[in-house]
């Protein structure tokens, strides 16, 4: 049996198109120092640091762990870089939790970040390699055919994506860290924006953000001594699968289903819709809400869109998804997964502020990356397991 671990500190930067006012070390320190402050600790109290960010071409920093070691107080301490594409923020949190579960470390600092304004993620994701013809333009170009396949498979009406896009942006208005703030956003306003990659319209995509997120994860004794309520980690898991293989279902990937089953078993979740109070799920394009509702077992195959349409996933619904506004409202890619994990923790700590889900005791944090290939999840709770 592994040792208990809990989130005792959370730090986030404001997410923006450009953070020209800070360097990369300055950006990650902003989140790290806020997380340490939340935990009542300093760098000297930290035993190990885990760092995550998305592909190196995004900023052209090839070894961010070496680059940022001293900025994160990691001199003389174990420092590990995690690299799982867009899911990396979640994977970084899972690795940091593992450091504590193992008993090898008592207080671990996990940091994830992206400074997208330093270059262009679509350029970085659309490299033309020799001996092949790249036909995919950015992440939207990659995911659009699978969204279409989902719509055809489920018979979902076309406005479901607009509902999700408007819902998450409404939620963002209650989150002071959120990047996109669109007052009076409606599904009709989403439907009126330009088509990018059918069926994805402009406001059905995530923004491009600069920002960082940090967590302090600690063992039981440290969590009990922490100045603010801990979020106990009830289960965590990662899974991955290749981009192409015979029999692959890219709409409803096996790795995502297996990862969810694993994390639910650890946390004693029999029915996620009933047993969880909130979920922060990686939804970079609006249709990934109904798709992941099915993949994560909140709805039967083909029925996820009905849950969205019913309002169950909205603030005040029976299972709010992305009360923070989600990836659709803030997307520093490498940090986006950790923000999901952090926001889940804030919900069960009762510290989510304006977007707090009343009485949340158990919450899911989720991230996915690459061509729906990497999955990371955790379930956190207000009660120690």
């Amino acid at each position: 049996m592994s040792r208990s671990a809990a989130v005792i500190g959370v730090g986030q930067t404001r997410y923006r198109s450009r953070r020209d006012d800070v360097s990369m070390p300055g950006l990650v320190r902003e989140a790290a120092l806020r997380a340490l402050d939340d935990a009542g600790l300093g760098f000297a109290d930290i035993d190990a640091v885990v760092l995550g960010k998305a592909p190196d071409l995004f900023e052209g920093v090839a070894m961010p762990d070496l680059f940022l070691a001293d900025a994160l107080g990691a001199r003389g301490k174990p420092l590990l870089r995690v690299h799982t594409a867009g899911s990396v923020g979640g994977s970084t949190a899972v690795v940091a939790a593992g450091h504590v579960h193992s008993g090898a470390f008592r207080r671990v600092l996990a940091v994830a970040w992206e400074k997208q304004s330093e270059s262009n993620a679509t350029w970085a994701l659309t490299m033309a390699h020799p001996f092949s013809t790249s036909l995919v333009v950015g992440a939207g170009g990659y995911f659009a055919p699978f969204i279409r396949a989902y719509i055809e498979r489920s018979g979902a009406p076309g406005h479901i994506g607009h509902l999700v896009a408007a819902k998450d942006r409404r939620n963002a208005l209650r989150n002071p860290y959120a990047h996109l703030r669109i007052p009076d956003i409606t599904p009709e306003a989403v439907a009126a924006t330009p088509m990018l990659w059918e069926p994805i319209r402009y406001l059905e995509t995530c923004p491009s953000s600069d920002g960082a997120c940090a967590l302090v994860i600690a063992g039981e004794e440290e969590a009990r001594a922490a100045p603010r309520p801990p979020a106990w980690i009830l289960g965590s898991a990662m899974r991955s699968e290749p981009m192409t293989f015979a029999g692959r279902d890219a709409v409803d990937p096996r790795a995502g289903r297996d990862c969810a089953a694993d994390v639910y078993a650890q946390a004693g979740i029999a029915d996620p819709r009933r047993d969880l109070d909130a979920a922060e799920v990686y939804v970079p394009f609006s249709w990934y809400e109904p798709m992941w509702l099915e993949n994560l077992g909140f709805a039967a195959p083909g029925e996820g869109w009905r849950l969205t349409e019913s309002g169950a996933t909205a603030a005040g619904g029976d299972i709010p998804w992305n009360p923070s506004g989600g990836v659709l409202s803030s997307n520093p890619i490498g940090a986006s997964g950790m923000i999901r994990f952090a926001e889940a923790a804030q919900q069960v700590r009762g510290l989510a502020g304006g977007h707090q889900v009343d009485g949340a005791r158990t919450a899911l944090g989720h991230a996915y990356g690459a061509g729906s290939q990497f999955f990371a999840m955790w379930v956190v709770g207000a009660e120690r397991p």
Partner: protein, 319 residues
């Protein structure tokens, strides 16, 4: 008085130019306050003057411009700057001969750090500054710094400040990685077969057919059991209509789709052409359209795109 033009455009009208200039230039006695300011400036220091009310004026004047009150006696000359903030500005796309810079620049009101008033001066964005519009970074609030002339050129004049320049807030890191990429044996065979209009795949030990040809089964890493030749026909499984142009596909909308070749168990990602985007549908029969033989190269796939496969048994072989 010189008469350069003698009214040729308008007969009868006399036009000339006229310059009035006092030989050697007028003198200006500075008085103690302006004189101190210019003396410090010649020595490379930026000083303001403090009013009786406590405000710091830069550039200094000999009284409080707010109410006309005298300065304290003796006046205090606190150092200000060298950094400051743009309070307002005006872009000069086409400088005139008397302007301090010969390329586009801004007139800017700059409030130096430690001062309470702004100085109007030239703000330089370099020789490549755009003529048709202000640079995007030029905003009220921009941080700038005075650029002084070299010591031996300074005379005690406001032009001892040559101009202001934005503070350094960004550097360009234009590094590159140069790779040598070698195709593996399977990819080499796949591309060479396409030169001859053939599509090669491979069969896993479990009997599943992968295309392009590859050496290992991605499911379990076992070696493939054998090579398979596939036809240029298949079914479109799903697709996207792209409205975002790309250097490689500048015309929008364009359609990309996943094609399940007949006999294959994985899809090929391909361009879809020869059909209006709104008529494309999943389940559509398609066939490969090949590049002409003289445009094929072994360094990239030779299938140009897939087009609708019309008519029963339209199994058109590769050219």
């Amino acid at each position: 008085m010189r008469s350069d033009r003698t009214g040729e455009d308008a007969p009868g009208e006399l036009v000339g130019t006229h310059t009035v200039r006092f030989p050697g230039g007028y003198t200006r006695s500075t008085g103690p306050v302006i004189g101190r300011f210019l003396t410090e400036l010649r020595d490379g220091r930026l000083v303001g003057v403090r009013t009786a009310a406590g405000r710091v004026l830069f550039p200094p004047v000999e009284y409080d411009p707010g109410d006309g009150a005298p300065l304290p006696d003796p006046p205090e000359f606190p150092e200000v700057g060298p950094g400051g903030t743009v309070r307002t500005w005006c872009w000069v796309g086409a400088p005139r001969p008397a302007h301090p810079l010969d390329h586009p620049f801004a007139w800017a009101a700059v409030r130096l750090d430690g001062a309470d008033t702004a100085v109007l001066h030239a703000l330089d964005f370099g020789p490549d500054a755009p003529a048709d519009r202000p640079p995007a970074r030029l905003r009220t609030g921009l941080r700038v710094r005075a650029r002084l002339r070299p010591e031996d050129e300074r005379t005690g004049s406001i032009t001892d400040i040559r101009c202001f320049r934005p503070e350094v807030d960004r550097i360009i890191d234009d590094r590159r990685l140069d790779y040598t990429v070698r195709a593996d044996a399977a990819l080499t065979r796949y591309l060479e077969a396409q030169l001859h209009g053939r599509i090669l795949g491979s069969r896993t030990r479990g009997g599943r057919v992968h295309v392009p040809l590859r050496d290992l089964d991605p499911v379990d890493g076992t070696p493939m059991a054998g090579e398979v030749e596939l036809p240029g026909t298949g079914v479109l499984t799903t697709f996207s209509v792209n409205h975002v142009p790309d250097p490689r596909a500048p015309e929008v909308p364009f359609v990309t789709g996943y094609v399940r070749l007949d006999g294959a168990d994985v899809d090929l990602l391909a361009l879809i052409s020869g059909v209006e985007p709104e008529k494309v549908h999943a389940g559509m029969r398609v066939r490969a359209e090949w590049l002409p033989p003289d445009e094929r190269t072994r360094t990239r796939p030779s299938i140009r795109w897939f087009v609708p496969d019309q008519g029963a048994g339209a199994e058109e072989g590769p050219r």
